[in-house]
């Protein structure tokens, strides 16, 4: 038993629903009690889908448990087939139905439905949403993809985009366009937009482009093994990775066509002098493994940030994540407990978080700006505008979205120079965000509050200092004069410096000696 307040991933059947909902002419029958239908609103509200997810829920109740839940399942499956006339049927159990062990797959098989029935094993008490998506897509491929001759021209399949994915809609468009520029047609993009009949003809492609290992790596490996289709390993997020992806595709396809880079603005936007202030900004990255690993490289090599922490919530990516973190001189944080993530961020005191919707809230609580780079998704992650993460346009989007949360360069200077202006103080937040500046507390209230705190101890919101080191009142006041976006770092560096020097008290001098020590 594990106490969870918020979760990064839903249960595995929600992952399977992401596959089914992304596809066409497929229906899923989910053995589940009432209430599990909440999952529909993820798609209709967060993603604003104009159709219900193609899922029938058997809706068993307590009184059915001793009676005939298996009969309910068969009725639901028969009705769903009659009403929706799908090309194939996925059948699965949610967490509760798993416990009553009706074996939906076995039941469906006995019914003699005239379409392929694909049973899914989704162990709800061991695995999570990404596993459910990956497994559902794998089983669809295994059941439907047939051996067939390759297309005459070089084509590929795109694997991974699903419903409710982080920018999958636009990534798919961007990468389809890029491949087309290279003279490569997309045979099938799946799951998003594909029908079971499309899955059946995936074997005609010459190779596969794997966009999201979270949802399609098992299928890519199976297709490689069974259909002799190699797949791309580079995730084209950022200008460097997009170029590496193009090279990889050239090697697989023999394409020699030039790719137009004139739309790519990130490199010049990052190199222009206005961006100097981004140098060495300390960022903490957390999300799904694929997006974090890609973003870490972009942050360091293309934006000039300093990555001070990284990690992912999906254990499946723990190994490559640990290896990459090591390369950055860091230890990866692998956890799905958001309280652990919050503690790690507080400890690292970054100037910006690059995370998920959960980290956005952590940032709000800690007063640290946050850019969203990964699922779990929120209604704001489905913008009306075209906003991919991948390819050259994706690189441009990364620059904009990662810079937006920060206080702009000159404003940052002014805040440092006139940090106690009653209207233009740092707690007001970046001026382009439109939040209202709260007047600073007067000296009297501040002094009163300090007295309440006993004069030397840090206020409760601040991270606790190591037990043996005490901030003197004067040093604490000096620290407060440092703008909020670097205050956490200053506190941490000073304490680390004091610890290394064996100091028990921090004075104003200690603060500035630490500043000089860590000057970059």
């Amino acid at each position: 038993m594990k106490l969870a307040v918020w979760t990064y991933e839903g249960p595995p059947h929600v992952g399977a629903m992401r596959v089914a909902t992304g596809m066409r002419d497929l229906h899923m029958v989910l053995h589940a009690p009432q209430g599990d239908t909440y999952a529909d609103l993820l798609f209709t509200m967060i993603e604003r889908r104009d159709h219900r997810p193609p899922v029938s829920y058997t809706t068993f109740q307590a009184r059915d448990l001793g009676a005939d839940t298996a009969g309910l399942f068969m009725t639901a499956a028969r009705d769903a087939h009659a009403r929706f006339d799908p090309q194939a049927l996925l059948v699965a159990a949610s967490c509760t139905a798993e416990l009553i062990q009706d074996d939906p797959g076995g039941l469906a098989e006995t019914m003699g439905l005239p379409v392929p029935v694909i049973p899914l094993e989704l162990p709800s008490y061991q695995r999570k949403e990404n596993f459910g998506a990956d497994e559902a897509f794998l089983q669809l491929c295994r059941a439907l993809a047939r051996p067939m001759a390759r297309t005459e021209r070089v084509t590929c399949n795109i694997l991974g985009p699903t419903a409710l994915g982080f920018r999958h809609r636009d990534d798919l468009a961007e990468i389809t366009g890029l491949l087309s520029e290279m003279g490569i047609e997309v045979n099938v993009a799946a799951p998003m937009g594909a029908s079971p009949a499309d899955i059946a003809r995936m074997g005609a492609a010459h190779f596969n482009v794997l966009l999201y290992p979270e949802t399609a790596e098992s299928a890519a490996r199976w297709l490689e093994r069974e259909h002799d289709q190699p797949f791309t390993k580079t995730i084209p997020i950022g200008a460097h990775a997009t170029r590496a992806f193009i090279e990889e595709v050239r090697a697989l396809s023999g394409s020699t066509l030039a790719v137009d880079e004139s739309r790519l603005r990130l490199p010049w936007w990052a190199a222009s002098v206005d961006s100097t202030y981004l140098t060495g900004k300390r960022v903490f990255l957390f999300g799904d493994g694929t997006h974090v690993m890609a973003a870490a490289k972009v942050a360091r090599d293309e934006m000039g940030f300093e990555v001070c922490g990284m990690g992912c919530y999906n254990r499946e990516q723990a190994r490559p994540m640990r290896a990459l973190a090591k390369e950055f001189g860091l230890t990866a944080l692998i956890t799905d407990d958001y309280l652990d993530v919050e503690a790690a961020i507080e400890e690292a005191a970054p100037e910006m978080i690059m995370g998920t919707q959960m980290e956005r809230h952590i940032g709000k609580r800690l007063g640290i700006p946050c850019a969203v780079i990964s699922a779990p998704v929120h209604v704001q992650d489905f913008p009306a505008r075209y906003s991919p993460q991948m390819g050259f346009e994706g690189a441009n989007v990364l620059f904009d979205t990662w810079v937006h949360p920060l206080v702009m360069g000159l404003e940052e200077h002014l805040l440092v120079m006139f940090r106690e202006d009653f209207e233009f103080h740092d707690a007001a937040g970046p001026s382009h965000h439109g939040s209202k500046a709260q007047p600073l507390p007067t000296e009297a209230t501040a002094a009163h509050a300090a007295a309440d705190e006993g004069g030397v101890t840090p206020p409760p919101a601040a991270p606790p200092s190591p037990d043996s080191i005490v901030w003197l009142g004067c040093a604490e006041r000096e620290l407060k004069k440092i703008p909020f976006f670097v205050r956490g770092k200053a506190r941490r560096n000073t304490e680390k410096f004091a610890g290394e020097k064996g100091l028990r008290e921090i004075t104003v001098d200690t603060l500035y000696e630490a500043k000089a020590h860590y000057a970059r």
């Binding site: 038993m1 209430g35 239908t37 609103l41 104009d50 219900r52 809706t59 307590a62 416990l99």
Partner: protein
């Protein structure tokens, strides 16, 4: 209370359906209950699905340290490799250590905990003994195999009733979790009318809990409190039958029924409520201009459907096509059904595909439905109102009556404003 001219819809045969239900389970009530009871924590004993539901139903995550969480069952709990009770005790101890402000802990049962027959009532007894007197531990089930959406609040309040202290005092108990502003308005009105003392269930904090006994008279403010009603009767308390306090009419009838029970005549009530009632009627009239003559279809959601259909048909000039509720409690809803003119189909339960066929066949001007159905119906050219907003918005009593009408009018007004640019994707209806 005025005698209604006819028996209304009380004789209308109820269409009972069962099939796929597009509704929330009772766990969802935690979203408002944990805000209402400020010293309570709700610990769901369930699966990752339960945690995901609470997070998704909350829509925007409430990161102001939510007073709820999920103890997620894992493989080893199910396989008997871990003693689920020992695990639960450990998690509760950790939780209470981290949250010393908690005075009431609700262990909330879920579908998986019910299916594996984890006895949470014994766990609550055991944990109460361990953590008394600081923390009172109660349990109820919010599982989807037993409860639909608002029935979770009912189960929670019903679980609190046996623990309430006993009294012989003649007091009014107002039952149902109301937003603070609404509760304050209701208390002020009752005070002016001369009804008192008044207690509330649930109270904001454990130490404010009501005492009950044979002289307690209670009035329900929510229509979904059937089990709480039964639990109160078992304690000897008596219900004041009335329509529910939605709209100017419902509020007036509710107040008059309560006043009559306390020996106060309708004239006194009329005098006290004249001004707020006139304000409510004026505010309703503004929205009713949009709603007048429009046809409304209620899909089942919260059990508020029947009282709200009464409000829309009698005070806003709407015509009801179908009024569907997850569960129809004949006794509690009788005063409402008496007021609704014959005509609409009254249905209980759901087979969502069949019901959607009826929606498409009748093409209502406004369909009240869950979040999973709203955008798909809009895409078919049908205006909708999400039902959940009716539960998450202050809508009771006079000062909110205009807001309540406006909630229904807004989607229609919006369609009118956007008429020129609305995609109105009729092809989706095919």
């Amino acid at each position: 209370m005025t005698t209604p001219p006819t028996s209304g819809c009380t004789d209308t045969p109820v269409l009972r359906e069962r099939g796929q239900r597009e509704v929330f389970c009772g766990l969802t009530g935690i979203i408002w209950l944990h805000r209402k009871m400020q010293d309570a924590f709700f610990l769901v004993v369930g699966s990752r699905t339960c945690a995901h539901l609470l997070q998704s139903a909350a829509g925007v995550m409430i990161f102001a340290e939510p007073r709820f969480g999920t103890a997620i069952l894992e493989e080893k709990d199910l396989a008997g490799m871990a003693d689920a009770n020992a695990e639960l005790d450990r998690e509760v101890a950790r939780l209470l250590e981290r949250r010393p402000d908690i005075r009431q802990l609700f262990l909330v049962g879920s579908c998986p905990s019910e299916v594996i027959k984890l006895d949470l009532s014994r766990a609550a007894e055991r944990l109460s003994e361990i953590h008394a007197p600081r923390v009172r531990v109660l349990n109820y089930s919010g599982s989807g195999i037993e409860t639909t959406f608002t029935e979770g609040e009912d189960a929670c309040l019903a679980a609190m009733v046996p623990a309430l202290p006993k009294t012989e005092a003649r007091e009014l108990l107002m039952v149902g979790a109301l937003p603070d502003v609404v509760e304050d308005q209701a208390l002020a009105l009752l005070d002016q009318i001369g009804v008192g003392p008044v207690r509330c269930l649930p109270a904001k904090r454990a130490e404010l809990d009501a005492a009950i006994g044979p002289n307690t008279r209670y009035a329900l403010t929510q229509p979904f409190l059937g089990d709480t009603h039964a639990a109160l009767q078992r304690r000897g308390a008596q219900r004041i039958a009335a329509p529910f306090p939605f709209g100017a009419e419902g509020t007036t009838l509710w107040l008059k029924a309560v006043a009559a029970e306390f020996g106060i005549g309708p004239d006194t009530v009329d005098a006290v409520v004249a001004a707020p009632r006139a304000r409510a009627e004026k505010a309703i009239a503004a929205a009713a201009a949009t709603l007048q003559g429009k046809r409304v279809f209620f899909m089942p959601d919260s059990q508020l459907e029947i009282p709200l259909a009464r409000f829309l048909t009698r005070e806003c000039g709407m015509q009801a096509i179908e009024i569907s509720t997850p569960f129809l409690h004949a006794e509690l809803h009788r005063p409402e059904l008496e007021l609704i003119a014959k005509g609409p189909t009254i249905s209980e339960g759901q087979d969502v595909d069949l019901q959607l066929d009826r929606v498409r066949a009748t093409r209502p001007d406004l369909t009240i439905c869950g979040l999973g159905l709203a955008n798909p119906l809009e895409a078919e050219g049908l205006a909708t109102k999400w039902a959940i907003e009716l539960v998450f918005t202050p809508v009771h009593f006079y000062e909110q009556a205009g807001d309540l009408a406006a909630l229904f009018a807004r989607p229609l007004r919006r369609r009118e404003i956007l008429r020129a640019s609305h995609p109105n994707r009729m092809e989706a209806a095919e």
